[in-house]
């Protein structure tokens, strides 16, 4: 379709908005990507043109884990400081999804009603998207080898993100604790041959965790080896030495052969992981006057505190007022299901997704520290869960050995879970197997005494099934 530009864009936006509304009204999906696809079909430069209207800040977030939470918290912080903020909130993190989020905030005349854009971007889409959104900053959360995707392509992912940063022309906000992420600053200092980059000085801001305390964690009867990826130096491939591991392969490292080491973070976090709450204390050295503050984190799991640290670092980097941070954090509601506290029949229920050993490690530490918790573990092995449940054997279920109340296991692979708990040392008499997920849920709920709460550890499809069942009651 060849149309003059002044005509093309309004038509593209008009059609896409109409389509978005139509999808929502008819209930045919959530309308997150399709309007973007259609808009881009009508005007291939739509993303570029709309993003260019974001006159305060454009920021992209990439990495393998924690993108959605970090982007959600950051958008909430920006809004709390009074900025009209566009954010691809529903996890549609490729070009059409980004475009759709901008269309949503655009008037029919083509005028974007926003000054800040916070974009969660899929790693593989980042190089192309960066050419169009030209983000001022790229925040890189981490590079975890997905437990379910064992193809050893982490180097490829790192290169894609580096290309995306190079293409943006902007700076980077990096997790100092992840060697492959902090190495991006070293790689990007050299003029990039493939992109014809000029090698100019890109600003680099680091965030990192200085220490983590677990005041309520019961000690293990015997030590369990932490399942972590063995990480070699990204620059010279010699082994890295760690003084401290915080989460998976994240921590305080230095190379045993070359000068590569964890950089000093501009924004440091000290995290206290108590059983029923976590606290993040940050120390910020971004400006001339150091700034310190303490934030309660209303999401379980160390990874969520690290995501919040990343979002706070980004907010301070782009000039969000410190006064807005607590408000913004307060207003953020955890992503669906990742850590959902709710009342069912007036009884407290917490759901914490488990899907791989590293994530489960944190969830189990939290669950084991909860004094008045009844546990329901639901293991499915459908496609979205990852078909391979071998990871159960790498996760430290030994933390539950001294759990005072019976543990119910459910889902398609309930027996594997029961066996894993028995091998961990949980007495067989305290294990209950009930295949039907909602049946198990309600019998656990009915057994709650007084001030007990139900803590559910489901895999992805189990979580989805329970959330749907609870919604449609």
């Amino acid at each position: 379709m060849i149309l003059p530009d002044w005509f093309q864009r309004p038509v593209a936006i008009h059609t896409a908005k109409l389509l978005g509304n139509l999808i929502r009204v008819t209930g045919q999906g959530s309308g997150t990507s399709l309007p973007g696809k259609v808009g881009l079909k009508l005007d291939p430069n739509l993303l570029k043109k709309l993003a260019a209207q974001l006159n305060k800040t454009r920021l992209a977030i990439s990495g393998t884990n924690g993108k959605s939470t970090t982007a959600g918290v950051l958008a909430s912080l920006c809004k709390a400081d009074g900025f009209n903020t566009v954010h691809n909130a529903l996890g549609a993190n490729m070009k059409p999804g980004l475009t759709a989020s901008l269309i949503e905030a655009t008037s029919l005349a083509g005028q974007l009603n926003a000054d800040v854009g916070i974009f969660e971007v899929d790693e593989a889409s980042l190089p192309q998207c960066a050419l169009e959104i030209r983000q001022d900053w790229t925040l890189v959360t981490n590079l975890f080898r997905d437990q379910l995707d064992r193809y050893g392509e982490l180097d490829t992912t790192a290169k894609l993100i580096e290309q995306g940063i190079a293409n943006s022309g902007g700076g980077m906000i990096l997790n100092a604790d992840d060697p492959m992420v902090s190495a991006m600053a070293v790689h990007l200092k050299q003029p990039a041959k493939t992109t014809g980059g000029s090698g100019f000085h890109r600003p680099v801001i680091y965030y990192g965790v200085s220490s983590v305390d677990y005041p309520d964690l019961p000690p293990l009867d015997s030590p369990v080896a932490f399942p972590r990826e063995v990480t070699d130096c990204p620059l010279c491939q010699a082994p890295l030495h760690y003084d401290l591991f915080t989460y998976g392969h994240l921590g305080h490292y230095h190379c045993t052969a070359c000068d590569f080491a964890r950089p000093d973070p501009h924004v440091q976090g000290h995290i206290v992981m108590a059983a029923d709450h976590s606290i993040l204390k940050i120390h910020c050295n971004l400006n001339h006057t150091p700034y310190e503050a303490t934030f309660p984190i209303n999401m379980p799991g160390l990874y969520n505190s690290i995501n919040v640290l990343a979002a706070l670092c980004a907010a301070l980097t782009i000039g969000i007022q410190p006064a807005a941070l607590n408000v913004g954090l307060d207003r953020y509601r955890g992503l669906f299901g990742r850590a959902e506290h709710q009342l069912v029949d007036g009884k407290p229920v917490t759901m914490m997704l488990i899907k791989n050993p590293i994530g489960a490690w944190e969830v189990l530490k939290v669950a084991a520290g909860l004094p008045k918790a009844r546990l329901l573990i639901v293991i499915n092995d459908d496609y979205a869960d990852g078909r391979d449940i071998s990871w159960l054997w790498d996760a430290p279920f030994e933390y539950l050995v001294n759990h005072p109340t019976p543990i119910t296991v459910s889902g398609k692979r309930a027996e594997d879970m029961a066996l894993r708990l028995a091998y961990a040392g949980v007495p067989e008499t305290r294990l209950h197997v009930e295949h039907d997920i909602m049946g198990a849920f309600h019998s656990c709920l009915n057994q709650l005494d007084g001030d007990e709460q139900l803590v559910v550890l489901p895999t992805y499809t189990a979580l989805l099934a329970m959330s749907l069942a609870l919604k449609t009651r």
């Binding site: 790498d394 027996e415 594997d416």
Partner: protein, 248 residues
């Protein structure tokens, strides 16, 4: 009576839940009043062939696999050969299986020599085999597990398959075979994760019985007569049955 398990490279080959196999050996031994000791053997460590009764080696990611192959060749090849000659029972899974064989031929570089204890060779294939597996053993019993490999393994004359795939691809997706057992009947290789031994207790007992008989002879067989706890046996059996039902 004591069983010494050498767990090779536990920190490097630790992403596939293969640790469960060591736990299963320990539990089934302890249930019968047999003491079990697990000795982690990492890069640079030496393996004492006379001191071990069972050797386990799991699978890892490519980078770790290369490191391990190099360390095996440098520091452990002789000891592993001597242990195998002593009759020490060994189980290699996935990468561990491939390294018990003659060599692994990657897609775009020189072959990586293995220990040559199992008469088989592996060549990188174009496709990755991922999915649940059900194996039928020569005696009609079943094994359940999960495979995730692109290496294609071809068996030589000196080994027999562990079994035949009823579901899944097995050694190479062609001949229906899965795994390998040496002519001596003491060296085992397989692609089955899952973990394998916890939900295949008959195989666990087979390995345990053979391992004990080397050091303790008849006394080992007598020890194996002790029943394991019925509750544990029931959980293991139902996990096995459940996998069969789901993959029918």
């Amino acid at each position: 009576m004591k069983l010494v398990i050498a767990h090779l490279y536990p920190a490097h080959l630790n992403m596939y839940g293969d640790r469960g196999n060591v736990l299963a050996m320990v539990h089934r031994a302890q249930c019968r009043g047999i003491e079990a000791e697990v000795v982690p053997v990492g890069p640079g460590d030496t393996l004492v062939p006379e001191a071990v009764d069972f050797v386990f080696m799991g699978g890892g990611q490519d980078a770790q696999q290369m490191l391990v192959a190099d360390d095996l060749a440098r520091h452990k090849a002789d000891a592993m050969r001597q242990a195998a000659e002593r009759g020490v029972v060994m189980l290699g899974i996935c990468g561990g299986y491939q390294m018990l064989g003659h060599y692994y031929q990657p897609y775009d570089s020189d072959p990586i020599p293995g220990l040559g204890l199992l008469d088989c060779t592996t060549v990188a294939g174009p496709e990755r085999f991922i999915g649940n597996v059900v194996v039928v053993r020569p005696d009609g019993s079943t094994l359940v597990g999960f495979e995730n490999h692109s290496g294609l393994t071809t068996l030589g004359q000196g080994v027999v398959p562990l079994g035949t795939v009823k579901l899944g691809k097995g050694n190479n997706g062609q001949d229906g075979s899965e795994g390998a057992v040496s002519a001596s009947g003491t060296l085992y290789g397989t692609y089955l994760h899952g973990s394998l031994l916890p939900k295949n207790p008959s195989l666990t007992d087979e390995l345990l019985g053979k391992a004990l008989s080397v050091r303790y002879g008849e006394a080992g067989a007598v020890a194996m007569q002790q029943p394991v706890s019925p509750a544990l046996q029931a959980l293991e059996t139902s996990a096995h049955q459940r996998a069969l039902v789901l993959n029918r």
